[in-house]
């Protein structure tokens, strides 16, 4: 009799456990936005998406590109969300506020130090102990002004996925587009040489599949 009760209760537990969400590896993401796009609708959309998709215990940071050599001063804000949902929501509020304040004034566009920014963000993400790490770049990596990566000095990017968000390349045509693609390929090779993954996103809706929310 007691065995029957135990089996029934266990079956019930398994049944209910089946209704719960599957285990998710802890994640961390860093968003790099170049200065001219800080006030764009795309930047707002990407930031808003990540703030709503992040779960308690996960980490997120935002930094600005295009102000010369990348340094700590370019960090807009970063947060490791608390395990308690109520505190996590407050932290998200604060980060959003920081971002809005930062973008309220226009920033001068300058040299894009992509390699430096990647070096910094990879180090930052490494400190979070997250199993899934994402670096999102909202900048035109195909621009001629951006120097190509130095292949002899690859970055250690194991477990990192670099996601350039390119949604407005329609203006490039012919030779320009071919050159831009070539530069992108160079970046891809550089990231992969460092052990990272490379995934270009052309549609913001794809973020839902790459970094799913709750």
């Amino acid at each position: 009799m007691r065995w029957a009760v135990a089996i029934l209760v266990l079956a019930q537990a398994v049944g209910i456990a089946g209704c719960t969400e599957p285990a998710r590896k802890p994640r961390a993401a860093y968003l790099l936005i170049d200065a001219p796009r800080l006030r764009s609708a795309q930047a707002q959309a990407v930031v808003n998406y990540f703030l709503s998709a992040l779960q308690p215990g996960e980490s997120f940071g935002i930094a600005c590109l295009g102000t010369g050599n990348f340094s700590d001063r370019d960090t807009i804000g970063s947060v490791s969300l608390d395990a308690r949902p109520s505190l996590a929501t407050q932290q998200k509020h604060l980060l959003k506020k920081k971002f809005d304040e930062f973008t309220s004034s226009p920033r001068p566009a300058g040299h894009l130090d992509i390699a430096g920014a990647l070096l910094y963000t990879v180090a930052q993400l490494g400190e979070t102990n997250a199993e899934e790490r994402y670096v999102l770049i909202l900048a035109d990596l195909g621009k001629e002004q951006i120097p190509e990566p130095v292949k002899d000095f690859p970055l250690q990017m194991e477990g990192c996925r670099v996601i350039p968000i390119i949604v407005e390349n329609g203006e490039l045509i012919g030779r320009q587009q071919a050159a831009a693609l070539k530069r992108l390929e160079a970046w891809e090779e550089w990231v992969q040489a460092g052990g990272g993954e490379w995934q270009v996103v052309n549609d913001l809706a794809l973020l839902g599949t790459i970094f799913p929310g709750s």
Binding site: Q12, I16, C19, L51, Q55, G57, E58, A83, P85
Partner: protein, 475 residues
């Protein structure tokens, strides 16, 4: 030289080669006819025998399972009737204690009432005062002739008037006495009424005890019926078990829905306590904590039902002291109430978290969405549901017990039926193999019909030559 060329006997004419091969094959088959027949028959009989043996074994197993199920059902039926009898005895004992414990008081009331009635009756028996003794003498005087002495007549008249006056006085006294007697008898009426009511109440109480006794008799008769006619009892119990099993399963399914709802109410706010980002195995810690809370509540509900004597899943709990059980039931109830309170609080936290999240989402997209008209209604609803659900789930112990008790019988019946069908299928398959063996023999002969035909023709001619047969063509 290709693989196919190996089979070409006559180069250049493959058809003839094929025919030659067929002829060779038929000849070999004809030569191996009897051993082949025996092999086919032996194989089919072997398979048939094996399947028959398997069928018999399955039937034996089915009988054992059926016998065991029968024992289980009879034992379950007997146990159930014993429980029913026990409860009836308890109720009878309670009825006797409640109804007949007041019997001495009723008897005392009756004695008092009858004493008062007796006293009043005796009072009513007081006779009116008898007429004075001189009246008879006056009657004699009254009979004397009135036309006598003139000096006597006035005396007599005076005496007559005096007597009449006395008579009226006596009659008045008598009437008064009779009236008083009637009044006394009238005073007895309430005592009679009270006696009647007391007797009626006694009658009702005895009737209730009688009804309980009848219920005990019915349960006892059912108990004896199971003991004396187990076959009929098994049939009845079998149908009853099935019905109860499916009813209990349906109710448990509903209870499971309640558990899932409960889980979703407290899983999110649990992350405020144990953290939302940690995992135990492949499950969130908050989900596991919510499950633990729900199962502790369910366990408390089970214990409560056990201590109250409604279910009997754990015999050791049923054997506890009668004074101890209500105390333990109270403890279980208090724990259950505390947990229900915790759940209600968690439901409130859940509503708060959902509200915060909604506000945050609205801040991300300020042009969309609007504040809900009222937030206290869903919050209150969630709290009430979270508080009530643990108590409602307590009653899930009753169908759970029913499911477990009938589960063995239903499982046995289902297993026996499946084994019976399996035995039938094995037996049918065995017969099929036997028939297939005979069919195989006939098909074999069909393949080698030319030599068989020749053989039959030759045999016919031989017999004909020996004069054994009349003119008859071979078939």
């Amino acid at each position: 030289m290709s693989h196919r060329d190996l089979f070409i006997i006559l180069p250049g004419s493959p058809l003839l080669s094929v025919l030659l091969w067929i002829g060779v094959a038929v000849a070999f088959l004809y030569l191996a006819r009897f051993p082949a027949h025996r092999a086919i028959i032996s194989f089919s009989r072997m398979v048939h025998g094996a399947l028959r043996l398997a069928s018999r074994s399955t039937l034996l197993l089915e009988k054992r399972v059926a016998a065991r199920t029968r024992e289980v059902m009879i034992n379950a039926g007997v146990e159930e009737r014993e429980r029913s009898l026990e409860r009836e005895f308890q109720r009878t004992a309670e009825a006797v204690t409640r109804d007949l414990s007041g019997y001495p008081a009723l008897q005392r009331i009756l004695v008092e009432q009858s004493g008062k009635i007796d006293e009043e009756y005796r009072n009513s028996a007081l006779m009116p005062p008898p007429p004075p003794g001189w009246v008879r003498a006056v009657e004699v005087l009254a009979k004397l002739p009135a036309e006598g002495d003139a000096s006597v007549v006035p005396i007599l008249n005076y005496i007559h008037k005096t007597v009449e006056s006395q008579y009226h006085t006596a009659m008045t006294d008598y009437n008064r006495a009779v009236s008083e007697r009637q009044a006394t008898l009238k005073r007895i009426m309430p005592y009679w009424r009270k006696v009647s009511e007391t007797l009626d109440e006694m009658g009702h109480r005895i009737k209730r005890v009688e009804e309980r006794a009848k219920a005990v008799d019915i349960s006892m008769a059912e108990y004896e019926e199971i003991r004396s006619h187990p076959d009929q009892a098994v049939r009845a119990l079998s149908a009853s078990s099935m019905a109860r099993f499916f009813t209990a399963a349906a109710f448990l399914f509903i209870a499971l829905g309640g558990v899932v709802l409960n889980f979703h109410l407290i899983a999110l706010p649990m992350s405020e306590m144990v953290g939302g980002g940690s995992y135990i195995g492949s499950f969130r810690s908050s989900s596991v904590a919510a499950l633990v809370i729900i199962f502790v509540e369910f366990s408390m509900g089970l214990y409560l039902m056990e201590f109250l004597g409604i279910t009997r899943l754990f015999p050791s709990l049923g054997q506890l002291d009668d004074k101890m059980r209500p105390r333990l039931a109270m403890i279980a109830f208090v724990i259950l109430t505390i947990l229900a309170g915790v759940e209600a609080s968690l439901a409130y936290v859940r509503d708060q978290l959902a509200g915060d999240l909604q506000v945050f989402q609205q801040s991300l997209t300020p042009t969309q969405g609007a504040q809900p008209a009222s937030t206290w209604i869903p919050a209150t609803g969630q709290m009430v549901i979270a508080f009530v659900l643990p108590f409602a789930l307590t009653f899930g112990a009753i169908p759970l017990e029913s499911l477990i008790r009938t589960g063995r019988s239903v499982l046995g019946i289902t297993a026996a039926a499946s084994l019976r069908w399996a035995a039938f299928a094995l037996r049918a398959l065995g017969h099929l193999f036997l028939r297939l063996g005979r069919l195989g023999v006939h098909l074999y002969d069909l393949l080698i019909f030319p030599p068989l035909w020749v053989e039959a023709l030759l045999r016919y001619r031989c017999r004909r030559a020996e004069g054994l047969l009349e003119e008859q063509a071979p078939q």
